[in-house]
């Protein structure tokens, strides 16, 4: 079993909620756990932000391949599923992204919490790409498992081979399916007590917190209130606590105050998680 790379990973610090967005937005927040993607680290200013984040937060690095594949889909009129199934080398701009990914993971691996693999091309291609990354950089990225595409044999292969995996597909699943996938992940993880499961694109909720596995999740939905006006809601303590009327919506471009509000609610989410851990979580209290 390989230990995935990331110098600041603490296997006892579970569960964690990572807020995802561009480097500047997550730096603006006071949230302790942040996810940034390689495609967002495209200049010295962003790299300076990454430096500061690594000094003060736990940072999970995403590869940015999803964004690249979506750009490819748009440019070529492909469906999202078709684009995601392409071999990485068929995706426009892959070489440049891979080179940048290599440079960043090589330089920052010890200061990061974790590195997500270049997750592109399906269960047959991904192991080849991962092996290439490991050979070229010496870094062991966290492999990504997609339950609706990859099959459970692949999950077992990954869980036997790595201390941490990422669990995808949840963002596109309807709520009942999501719940069942999370429960199933918990059931599967029972066979691998060392396994850390990171749920991609998942906002913390009560059932996720209650499941008996070690892990983390990330979401960019802490910014949802600022993105889509009909969704203008404020969340804290894992619960929605307000619908804001239209006259309280922030105008496009004038969102800094709104970012402060949403960042604070995200921070409180982790505070709530930590409090649960200390106070009421039977499994974690036992460990």
């Amino acid at each position: 079993m390989k230990a995935t790379s990331g110098g600041t990973f603490d296997p006892s610090a579970s569960p964690l909620y990572f807020i995802a967005s561009n480097p500047e937005a997550v730096e603006e927040s006071q949230h302790p756990h942040v996810l940034v993607a390689v495609n967002e680290l495209n200049g010295q200013r962003q790299m300076d932000v990454l430096d500061r984040l690594c000094d003060t937060r736990t940072v999970l690095l995403d590869s940015g391949i999803f964004n690249l594949a979506m750009g490819h889909a748009k440019a070529h009129g492909l469906s999202m599923d078709t684009a995601l199934s392409l071999h990485p080398t068929e995706v426009d701009g892959f070489d440049a992204l891979r080179d940048r990914y290599y440079r960043i993971v090589t330089e920052y691996a010890d200061r990061l919490w974790g590195v997500i693999e270049l997750d592109q091309g399906g269960a047959k291609v991904k192991p080849e790409t991962r092996a290439m990354i490991e050979k070229d950089t010496g870094i062991v990225p966290m492999p990504v498992y997609h339950p609706l595409n990859d099959g459970w044999d692949y999950f077992d292969t990954l869980a036997q081979g790595y201390d941490r995996i990422c669990f995808g597909n949840l963002v596109k699943a309807a709520p009942p399916t999501r719940l069942r996938l999370m429960h199933t992940a918990a059931e599967r993880a029972r066979a691998y007590p060392y396994l850390w499961t990171h749920f991609l694109g998942v906002h913390p909720n009560e059932n996720w917190l209650g499941m008996n596995y070690r892990g983390s999740c990330d979401s960019s939905s802490w910014l949802t209130a600022l993105r889509w006006m009909p969704s203008w809601k404020a969340w804290t303590m894992l619960k929605m606590n307000a619908h804001f009327p239209p006259d309280m919506w922030y105008a496009a471009g004038g969102v800094s105050k709104g970012e402060d509000v949403t960042a604070a609610t995200a921070r409180f989410t982790q505070v709530t998680i930590d409090a649960l851990k200390e106070d009421t979580h039977p499994w974690l209290a036992r460990s």
Partner: protein, 245 residues
């Protein structure tokens, strides 16, 4: 209602119509799909009450005729029809998942009103909708598609079938199938001295150390997880849980 085909130029747009529609998009739809529904026109004045932008698009495409449904509304009612037709559209929202699915199987987006740029945004909104959905509010039955997925991918439905409002005796514990935040009346009387409150218990909860030492009031709004809790308890302790109410 009778539908009549009339000359496009014989109709008048509603004066002072405050609505500003996307005539270009409607014209693109007409070119791909045709005019698939009649517009509504006040009979006495031949003024369009609903479908002003469809009429504009038809004119821009050089169409000679258009299908109409006549309304016998007086001027006051006509004004209300113009307003409500727009207002009710404005208040409609989307299930972004359903929209995503509806668009997904089309070969192209011609005549849908959507562009490739919209697709990513819709997918993102669908994802965000999931993030914001609270599972405790969602006990609806999975769709057929979901069941097909679930039968191959996820842990199957539990043996124990639970329903909202039920109270189960689970060993020394009590399980209530109810919401946490706004259904206190279903469980608060059970939170007596010495009983520990355990909201959102996961399926192995009664096997935990704390459950061995302390009677718990388990409140789980989700019937799938509640059923699995009962299954796990029965498998671990060999005792049947009983429905009290």
């Amino acid at each position: 209602m009778d539908i009549e085909t009339v000359a496009v130029d014989s109709l008048k747009p509603y004066p002072g119509n405050p609505r500003r529609g996307d005539v270009t998009a409607i014209a693109a739809s007409i070119e791909r799909n045709g005019v698939y529904k009649p517009i509504v026109v006040q009979r006495t004045t031949r003024t369009i009450l609903a479908g002003n932008h469809t009429w504009q698009a038809a004119k821009s495409l050089g169409m000679d005729t258009i299908d109409v449904v006549w309304s016998d509304a007086d001027d006051d009612t006509a004004r209300r029809i113009v307003l409500v037709d727009n207002a009710t559209n404005d208040r409609a929202t989307y299930d972004w998942h359903e929209l995503d699915v509806l668009l997904a199987d089309l070969d192209d987006l011609a005549g849908t009103g959507y562009s490739q740029d919209d697709l990513a945004l819709i997918a993102e909104r669908a994802a965000a909708m999931d993030d914001l959905v609270d599972d405790e509010d969602d006990d609806r039955a999975p769709t057929t598609g979901e069941l097909l997925e679930l039968s191959h991918v996820t842990v199957p439905e539990p043996t124990h079938k639970c329903h909202h409002g039920q109270v189960w005796k689970v060993g020394q514990h009590t399980l209530v199938i109810a919401k946490i935040n706004d259904e206190h009346h279903l469980w608060r009387h059970l939170l007596t001295d010495g009983v520990r409150f355990a909201p959102f218990p996961e399926p192995y909860f009664t096997l935990s150390d704390v459950a061995r030492d302390t009677p718990l009031l388990l409140v789980q709004p989700n019937t799938y997880l509640a059923g699995h809790l009962l299954d796990k308890h029965a498998a671990a302790f060999g005792e049947a849980s009983v429905v009290l109410t």
